[in-house]
Symmetry: C2
Subunit: 214 residues, 2 copies
DNA sequence: TTTTATTGATTGAACGTTCAATAAAAAAAT
DNA sequence: ATTTTTTTATTGAACGTTCAATCAATAAAA
């Protein structure tokens, strides 16, 4: 089987196998042997390409974060409408993207969330990603409201997104992405309602059954 | 040291030591020896009182869920005002209770969230707790709105609570409980605003500090 | 003296890593 | 075209470590 130029192929295989193994039995029992078997290779190869198990786990988390970043960036670039609401919508959509919501990715994500609290390298990755989400949201909200309120809105929406995600991952039936999107948009529109220069009123990618306001 | 009637004492010590160990080094490295050392006892005692490490972990998760249940129940019983908003407020307050927000409890909680996906017993505990939160919220919202909307509101608020929790646990500085409460209440009031029989308007247990702009 | 609680050395299983051996492809030589 | 050599990728058995569980020995209370 040894062909030249295997490195990128094997790396991808092993990262995918890692997610599959975590999906199957959890991080605690995702041994190098199980991961290797999933990828159809031997255990030793992991140390060869990633320097060890930790290296593979780090690479896997990087992959997940990169996927999320791409999912968001793609939707923001495809935006016709450059309103704040549209940008924030793209962030929501990106976070509930197919690749992210899938069983393996969701469980892997949650496993890394938990273990990042005690592994400095993973913590760093998680932190950077977190700040990026918050900063993006904050920047968009800032276009419609004063700074302190924008910060609150960003914190609230970030929490809502993560919360929907978390509960989706924990639910045996998996995340209902449509329902999650709907709830996130509904919350977003409530946040924006008070500050709508009327330019900016409910634009409805999704109609939250609106309401004649207070 | 052997006195009679040690069992309940040791059990409590060991459960507390488990949370402390998880807080310190994470579930993956919370070995029986480390936990035992934390409690000032030997490793063997764990199997003696809990039948094994798994038994101790299960008991620890049960403890955390019980603490949460008590925190909520206490606040609901202490309620003067029996409005739906007051009840939901008690649920929010209970979830951001001191004993829950503390470092050890928060990290232990997250660790169990992750591992409950692959351990049927923990999954069962987590699921029951989850349904209870949802059912309680749903029941209270139902007093103010039609069923489908009540369900959405309950799902949204549950996600918001868990999301704030999660992000608090992941943040290096820990959860800012006051800020979390404020955001949860703000969201709650937005949910209720559309349905307020005028009895029910913003009652402000917490003032969202509103902002002098910029 | 009996009962109860606790210890800690021991055991066996499981893990990640290593590395000499191997096999396949690519390159060079014929 | 064929053979030989070199390079690259891969294997899997062996090693050292770490862990949870066990249980005979022990020490304190009753």
């Amino acid at each position: 089987m040894p062909k030249v130029g295997m490195e990128p192929i094997r790396r991808q295989q092993l990262i995918a196998a890692t997610m599959a193994a975590i999906d199957e039995v959890g991080l605690a029992e995702a041994t190098v042997m199980r991961i290797a078997r999933h990828a159809g290779v031997s255990a030793g190869i992991i140390s060869h390409y990633f320097g060890g198990k930790d290296g593979l786990l780090e690479a896997t988390m990087r992959q997940i974060l990169t996927d999320l970043g791409n999912a968001v960036a793609a939707r923001r670039h495809a935006l016709g409408d450059h309103s704040a609401r549209a940008h924030i919508g793209a962030i929501i959509e990106g976070n509930f993207d197919r690749t992210q919501v899938t069983g393996p990715a969701a469980k892997t994500w949650l496993a890394f969330w938990a273990s990042s609290m005690h592994k400095p390298m993973l913590q760093r990755l998680q932190y950077v990603n977190d700040r990026r989400l918050y900063a993006n949201l904050c920047h968009q909200f800032r276009r419609l409201m004063p700074r302190d309120e924008a910060r609150n809105a960003a914190r609230g929406l970030a929490a809502m997104i993560d919360g929907l995600w978390l509960r989706g991952a924990l639910t045996p039936e998996g995340l209902d992405a449509d329902q999650a999107r709907r709830l996130a948009y509904q919350y977003l529109d409530q946040l924006l309602a008070h500050h709508s220069q009327r330019l900016q009123a409910p634009q409805t990618p999704i109609q939250p059954t609106d309401t004649l306001s207070t």
